[in-house]
Every structure is written in structure tokens, then in C-alpha cells.
Symmetry: C2
Subunit: 284 residues, 2 copies
């Protein structure tokens, strides 16, 4: 696995591989890698001739007061894991190389980015869309792999790619979970043992909501009431949102007809976690 | 010359040419072509193996109340002229193919887009940056050619390309002028014979400002006073701006040290024209 550190180093080998006819998969990450990230890399390696991972804690996607400074950095472990998962290249740029002095062009993300995380994390998806587009330009891949755990991010990136005619295919990968169901997240390592036990309540509440859906409930306020009550029963009281919305647009519905998704963002201690479950298709 | 009408038609032949090692030049236009556009096409054809022109009157770059509906459309003449100038492909998309229902991702253009035109035409450069990035993605060219007449547009696009790491080289081409000095513009055809005569006053006023600069004047308010007085002497009274600013950043200066540029936007009758002249380097 080759480690590339400067933007000027990364385009040529990928463009060369593309000219030779190779397919190239891209897996953008912020490091602090876990089994979910490695599943993305393995999926890319199985589908593409070459796989490029990136590790960059993107400052522009952290809203004021968020955990940018304390975001976990575990570079040595990450590099070992990426090599084992089958990455051919890893791009590890510096902040100042991607955001030099005077940087001032951003992507204004699509409307699907506005509710939910967009409402609770002002500027988050503007930062995500901007860095992802920059990486797509620096690394001319054929496909890019994103996890369904960050479901609104996935929709935002897919819509940006469609709107801006970016010549790349977005591949969605299922959420990887701990044995008890907690969605893998780099932020899980912030959790105290006690909070870790409590955190699984998000998963359990999504499952209870799925159970209601599967038993025929289609009224959104009933489903959201089950979700919220279950979070409360699991001692999760700092809930940013617990919503059931249209799975394609994230728009509010009264009664479910098309595929829907239940999404939760909650604080467990000082750690903000998100998770989701699709209703009406195979959830992950 | 091959005419391509749908976005899905345009990427494959250009990507094929690139894989074969060809250089590809892109000349984005809004049609109503004149000698300035054809100079861009000829420059591309002389530098690149293949040249792609685009004709698209981009609705998102017209501010409310501007001349979108009456913007001149002269497709048959444009196609003849492009073929004669050496274009290999011309892309003529429909509005609904580039802006389908639900389109909602935009480029938030760099800070160099904020003063001057940015202040007088709200949203103009957001529309310009968005369509240009879309065209760069649809048409994977090696170079793109833009005229210095739209000087702030040129800086905006160059800075967007730098900030977003777009893998394309921006080539600036000199302004082409009528025999009397009036900068070529698609909007010149709006001018009545009388207004046409008056319009050359913009060029003459820029020349008078250059004369002052060449005689050693470096105080910006003195230069701007000469520019404004000259416009007034030429019966051009509806001036949006008549400014001398830093040529790289478009920022205000008190006294000129680095290269500067004089820029004018004025209304002649109902027609809004812009022009500029570099001070301290070879003007065009």
C-alpha cells in the first residue's frame, strides 16, 4: 500500500491507472477506523482494480463547538487496517494543503441536506459536500463507497453527484454493527462503559419501531411515538431527533406509502451518536 | 463538427479522446457568438487536439429582472462559425437536461466574486460557477478558454478550480475589439446606432485612465476620478461602477504598487456593458 501525502502526488497514479482501463474505488474517511470502514475498503477491493482510501479530519464539516479538536486520531492502526483490508493507496493530506490561505469556494449542498443533521449541525453538509467534491477531483475514481450509517450524508453526496454531473458512481454499503447491535462509529470510543451499555438503546428503539412497522402501523406519528418512548425507556433522554421520514427525500409524511426510514440522533453523555433503519425494504 | 445535444452523449467521446492521449480544449459560451468567441475556439484548436464548444444560455446566472428571456439566440450562425473556427464538437443542451426538477446543488463562488459584478448582479457568479463546474464534469477537457473581457469571471473560475482541485487548466484570452475599440459582446447587438456610438466611450475612458497611469499617477482616487469624468464626458451617466482595484484580488487599494485593473460597468440605453483594462502589465 502506497501512502500519498500531497495533493500533487495523488492525481497522477490514479489517472494513470484509469488510462490503463482500471476501475478505481475511493473510500473517504476521517480516520479512527473501525470495521465499518474496513468493510467499505473490502467492498471496493472486491469490485475495483485499485482502491484508494483517504484519511482526513475535515475541519469544514465540524460546526462551532463540536469535537474537531478531540476527534480521535489513530493513524498507525488505521494504516495497518487499510493495508489488511486491501487498499492500494492511502491519501493522508494536511489541512493546509486542502484548505490553503484564501480558500473560499464551497459546495452549497442539495435540499436533502437541510433537515435532521443539517438543522442540528449548521454548515456540516456544506463542509462534507465540499471536501468530498475536492477528493473526487483529486482522485479520479470510478466509484466511491459510503456507509448507510450516515444515511443523510449518502443521499446528499448522491444528489450532489447527480446535480453537478460528477463522473463517479456512488456505492452504498450496509452499516456494520457490534454484536449487540450498536452501529460502529469512530465516536463510540468516547463512551464510558456505562454509556456504552446505554448506547445500544438507539438500536433497540429502531428495532422496536421496525417491529411496529412490520405489524402494519403506517401512521408516522404513532411510529415516532414508539421510537421516542423506547429511547426514553432505554434512558436516552437527550434526543436531537427521532423521526420517520420518506427514505428518498427525507421529507415528512403523515402516513407511509413509499419506503421510509427511521433516524435518530441522540447524546449519550457528551457523545452524539446517529443511527437509522430502513422501513419497507431490507434494513441494515 | 459533431453536434451533441444530451448530457449522456458528451462525456463518452471526450473521455475516449483523453484515454487515447488527446488534449481537449473546452470553450463554454452562451451563443450569440462574435469574433471574441471564435478567437477562443481558434486558440483552443491551435493548442489542443480536440476542441469542444458549448452553447447554453444558463438561466441560473441571470439575476431577477435581467435579460434572460430576450438574450439573443442565433444558433444556425453560431454553428457555422464554430465549425469554421475549428471546433470538433459542440454541446447544445436543453435547460431541463442540465437543471432537472429538484436540482438544488450550487457552487458558492470564491470571495473574488463578491465585489463589482457580484454586488450588482446578485447570484450571477453562483450561477456561473455552478454551470462551469457542471460543464467541466460533463466534458473532461484538459484546458478551458475564457476571455479577459469578463475579467472577474475569469478570476472566479480560476479560483474555483484551485479551491475545488478541478483537474483542468484555465486559459485566458485577450479581449477582441471592434475597429473603434468597443469590446465585442453578445449584448452589443441590442444597441441602437446612436447608443453604439456612445458605447465606445467606455473604451476611451479606460484608455484615458491608462494614459494617466502611464504618466505616473498611482493614487487610486485620482485614477478613478479621471475614469468617471471621462465616462461623463462621453455621455455615459448610468455607471454601475468605475473602479481601479488590485488585479489579482479585486480588492480596493489607496495607492497602486502591484498590477491593477480598471473596470467599468455602465448602461447605454437599456444595455448593460462591461469592459476593463489592465494597468501595469500589457493591457488587452
Amino acid at each position: 500500500m502506497k501512502i500519498l501525502r500531497h495533493p500533487s502526488e495523488v492525481f497522477p497514479p490514479i489517472a494513470f491507472a484509469r488510462r490503463e482501463g482500471a476501475s478505481v474505488g475511493l473510500v473517504p474517511t476521517m480516520g479512527a477506523l473501525h470495521a465499518g470502514h474496513y468493510a467499505l475498503v473490502r467492498q471496493s477491493a472486491s469490485q475495483c482494480d485499485k482502491t484508494v482510501a483517504t484519511i482526513f479530519v475535515n475541519p469544514t464539516q465540524f460546526a462551532a463547538g463540536e469535537d474537531l479538536a478531540r476527534y480521535p486520531r489513530t493513524l498507525e492502526e488505521d494504516l495497518e487496517g487499510l493495508a489488511a483490508a486491501g487498499a492500494d493507496f492511502v491519501f493522508v493530506p494536511k489541512d493546509s494543503d486542502l484548505y490553503p490561505s484564501g480558500f473560499s469556494t464551497f459546495v452549497e449542498p442539495p435540499s436533502v441536506s437541510l433537515p435532521l443533521e443539517g438543522a442540528f449541525r449548521p454548515g456540516h453538509y456544506r463542509g462534507v459536500a465540499t471536501i468530498v467534491l475536492k477528493l473526487f477531483n483529486l482522485i479520479p475514481a470510478t466509484s466511491a463507497f459510503f456507509g448507510r450509517k450516515d444515511y443523510q450524508q449518502l443521499l446528499t453526496i448522491q444528489k450532489m453527484v447527480d446535480d453537478l454531473n460528477v463522473p463517479i458512481r456512488i456505492e452504498a454499503c450496509d452499516t456494520v454493527r457490534e454484536a449487540d447491535g450498536l452501529a460502529m462509529s469512530s465516536r463510540n470510543r468516547y463512551l464510558s462503559p456505562e454509556d456504552r451499555q446505554r448506547a445500544v438503546g438507539i438500536y433497540r428503539s429502531l428495532q422496536r419501531t421496525l417491529g411496529e412497522f412490520n405489524s402494519g402501523v403506517r401512521n408516522v406519528s404513532d411510529l415516532e411515538a414508539v421510537l421516542m418512548r423506547s429511547l426514553h425507556d432505554c434512558n436516552i433522554d437527550q434526543v436531537d431527533y427521532a423521526k420517520v421520514v420518506d427514505a428518498e427525500t427525507l421529507e415528512d409524511r403523515t402516513k407511509l406509502e413509499a419506503p421510509a426510514i427511521a433516524l435518530v440522533a441522540a447524546r449519550i453523555g457528551k457523545t452524539r451518536l446517529i443511527d437509522n433503519w430502513l422501513l419497507g425494504t431490507n434494513g441494515a
